[in-house]
């Protein structure tokens, strides 16, 4: 019971969400898709937020990720509607690692 409670309290899905954002910071060029259906892993980050992990991302998160794609001029095919957010909201969390590393 203690173990179950531990898992509930320290639920992992949230970790996954944070990891996506952490990785996006490190790999800004990567858009792509996460295709597990064919059991081939094509590691692409941003699309994780839109695809597989979507239940973990709220609308605001998705809008943020979308705006990063736009800002970095990563190519998307057609616009995604309903993604208007204030510009100041665009920064990704985990800003502690600086460009000066």
């Amino acid at each position: 019971m203690i173990y179950i409670e531990f898992e509930l309290r320290y639920g992992k899905p949230q970790r996954a969400r944070e990891l996506v954002l952490r990785a996006m910071r490190e790999c800004p060029w990567s858009k792509g898709t996460f295709n597990v259906r064919k059991s081939v892993l094509i590691v692409d980050l941003a699309m994780l937020a839109f695809g597989l992990l979507r239940t973990l991302f709220d609308h605001k998160d998705i809008a943020k990720v979308y705006h990063v794609l736009m800002e970095k001029e990563i190519r998307v095919h057609g616009e995604l509607e309903g993604m208007e957010v204030e510009r100041k909201q665009i920064e990704l969390p985990h800003d502690e690692s600086s460009e000066e590393e």
């Binding site: 992992k12 490190e26 800004p28 060029w29 094509i42 001029e73």
Partner: protein, 648 residues
């Protein structure tokens, strides 16, 4: 920071500085934009180009050209990963056309000569004739500029306005890997990146003038998603484990199925820990294939040995492009590319491969490696009689031509016979030393005849060693070890023979060479077959052998897999972890992924979430000490973390 870099670049435009700069720019989040990074790569390539033109000798130029190829390939991966699939594909096509299908015989050695050549190439590009990898492509030199462009293809219906997120995501997924469109195509959308104009690729193009050009077909395969080393490449080659170039991979069998076993069993009302069960049945399920390409790994039966190509490796690849490309490379006439072609076609188009093999044999009658490949394909298709016939003919030819390649034919034939019938293998051994082998009646094996054969193989091995004839050397060494095994039925005797040969090779400076690695791999197969067939063996014998192999070739994932598989059968926990800890310092991204895989598979049904996370976090930490691998490394590992999280 950027200004600082500019200063450094001004002072030293060395290879290492440029690569570090690329790493930095590609990963610096705040300053990163796609157009910026394209400009950085173009500048880098232009700088290397100038150095190559200025190079004082062929050796120096070759070194620079190797880097140019690396940077180009890396750019293609980057463009594709940023969504510019068409540009990435077009760049690869243009590189192949310009280098392998050029008609001009003088190679450009200056910027102005390059300009002249490029303006001719531009005509070809703008003619919209079929390009490398496309249906009916004839190659730049054979194309007719006055020919009408191919018929316009109709674009598939492409709904540009997605009203829901799901539609949008679906369209993104579908657009992956799309071939470049043509100016003549009727495009439904106004997406400017569908068509790749000459100016988009111009800054990237380069004509290779050293034998680096022979690496291009391999680079193309790599770009297409097939991570196979060129044939003379050992697992030490940095390109093979470079994380920037190896971001997608086959994750089939990476994560074990969820266990239904109970962690605790009840015996007489008392809870006891359930028995440990090995989580891996075969050593072949880890799919980051960092080991040399050999006939064994190219044409293996599923589940019998390591396979460089398996159907699942092709699941998300553009196989039509691959097949077209390989067919078009026929005119380039590279023996091993032909063999790779057969190995690939054998998987994705098994009905046509024999025809292709015959067509190759027609143009390369004296290529005994091609004969070998052909016979092996037949053998693996359960057509042993035909396969034997091919080997007999080829061996006869090789003997009459006095070709030293004859030993390669013997080696492969005998080893496949050995897999099914040891007596047949011993019979073949008796013919090796003969000028006129007679394959007909089965002689009695053993006795004086076998002694003679042993002496013959022994002498040939040392002769090849003194002439540094590495191909023959490897064949004789393996056959010597196999014969020792067959005639003594004793693994220890065979291993003793192998250490004798390896020591002799060491004295000639062959330690760590591709020959050494391939030989260890062949012996590994013998050990594996022994363990499967005999049932009785000491785990420690195999452990010691593979431990030693890993010491010599720490990046080789076949040795790691075999070691782990052997340990999974052992009752004592922890040896794999201990081994991996010793590798951490020099670990490549593949080693780290291997560590995760070993952790989750070695014991059935027991995944320690914390142990996995700890490996991953250690790996992320270590990236700081291995800059060239740094970031994509991180990326792949994070994705693994995600997968682990899905598991929970």
């Amino acid at each position: 920071m950027l200004a600082h870099w500019e200063e450094i670049l001004k002072e030293a435009e060395s290879k290492d500085v440029w690569i570090e700069y690329l790493n930095y720019r590609q990963t610096a989040f705040v300053s990163f934009t796609y157009p910026e990074i394209v400009a950085v790569y173009s500048r880098c390539l232009s700088s290397f180009r100038r150095s190559a033109y200025r190079a004082k000798d062929a050796e120096e130029r070759k070194e620079i050209e190797r880097v140019i190829l690396y940077v180009l390939l890396r750019f293609c991966h980057l463009a594709r990963e940023a969504g510019y699939d068409e540009l990435a594909i077009a760049t690869v096509q243009a590189m192949m056309e310009m280098n392998l299908f050029r008609s001009e015989s003088t190679l450009p050695g200056s910027e102005s000569a390059r300009e002249t050549e490029l303006s001719q190439f531009e005509e070809f590009w703008d003619s919209e004739a079929s390009r490398f990898g496309e249906e009916n492509a004839r190659g730049w030199k054979n194309s007719d500029p006055d020919q009408d462009p191919p018929e316009a293809s109709k674009d598939m219906d492409w709904e540009m306005n997605a009203s829901t997120l799901d539609e949008w995501v679906l369209r993104e997924i579908q657009s992956k890997g799309r071939m470049p469109a043509r100016t003549t195509d009727e495009l439904d959308d106004d997406d400017p990146y569908r068509v790749v104009l000459f100016n988009d690729i111009k800054p990237l193009l380069y004509t290779f003038s050293t034998d680096v050009i022979q690496q291009l077909p391999y680079a193309m395969l790599q770009f297409c998603g097939l991570h196979i080393p060129p044939v003379e490449t050992s697992s030490f080659d940095d390109m093979l484990t470079d994380a920037w170039l190896h971001n997608s991979f086959n994750i089939q069998e990476l994560w074990p199925p969820r266990s239904t076993d109970n962690a605790i069993e009840w015996i007489n009302g008392e809870a006891v820990e359930a028995e440990r069960l090995p989580g891996i049945d075969t050593p072949f399920s880890f799919k980051r294939k960092i080991y040399p390409a050999t006939f064994d790994t190219l044409f293996s039966s599923p589940g019998q040995w390591f396979q460089h190509f398996e159907p699942s490796d092709f699941a998300s690849l553009n196989t039509q492009f691959l097949l077209n490309a390989l067919n078009q490379l026929k005119s380039v006439n590279q023996e091993w590319i032909m063999i790779y072609h057969l190995a690939i076609e054998n998987i994705i188009s098994p009905t046509t491969v024999l025809k292709t093999a015959k067509s190759y044999l027609k143009i390369r009658k004296a290529s005994f490696r091609l004969w070998n490949a052909y016979a092996l394909i037949l053998w693996r298709r359960e057509d042993p009689e035909e396969a034997r016939r091919v080997w007999k003919t080829a061996i006869g030819m090789a003997i009459s031509m006095k070709s030293s390649d004859v030993i390669i034919l013997w080696q492969i034939w005998i080893s496949v016979e050995f897999e099914v019938d040891q007596k047949q293998a011993r019979h073949l051994f008796s013919q090796i030393s003969s000028e006129r082998p007679h394959f007909g009646e089965m002689e009695s094996v053993g006795g004086a005849g076998e002694l003679r054969t042993r002496k013959y193989i022994h002498d040939q091995f040392y002769r090849a060693l003194s002439f540094k004839d590495v191909d023959s050397l490897e064949g004789y060494a393996f056959l010597g070890i196999l014969l020792e095994y067959l005639s003594s039925s004793n693994l220890d005797a065979a291993l003793q023979k192998s250490s004798e040969y390896i020591t002799a090779m060491q004295e000639r400076g062959l330690t760590g060479s591709i020959t050494h690695e391939r030989l260890l791999l062949s012996i590994s197969k013998l050990l594996y077959i022994h363990s499967k067939a005999q049932g009785w063996y000491r785990l420690s014998t195999l452990r010691d052998f593979w431990q030693e192999a890993i010491n010599k070739f720490p990046r080789n994932t076949a040795f790691l897999s075999l070691f782990t598989w052997n340990e999974a059968n052992s009752r004592i926990d922890g040896r794999v972890r201990k081994l991996i800890t010793t590798l951490e310092k020099s670990a490549t991204v593949d080693t780290w992924i291997f560590a995760v895989w070993a952790e989750v598979t070695i014991e059935r049904g027991r995944i320690s979430e914390f142990a996995v996370r700890s490996i991953l976090e250690n790996a992320l930490e270590s990236k700081k000490s291995v800059p060239p691998f740094a970031i994509p490394f991180f990326r792949q590992l994070l994705t693994l973390v995600e997968e682990v999280s899905f598991y929970g």
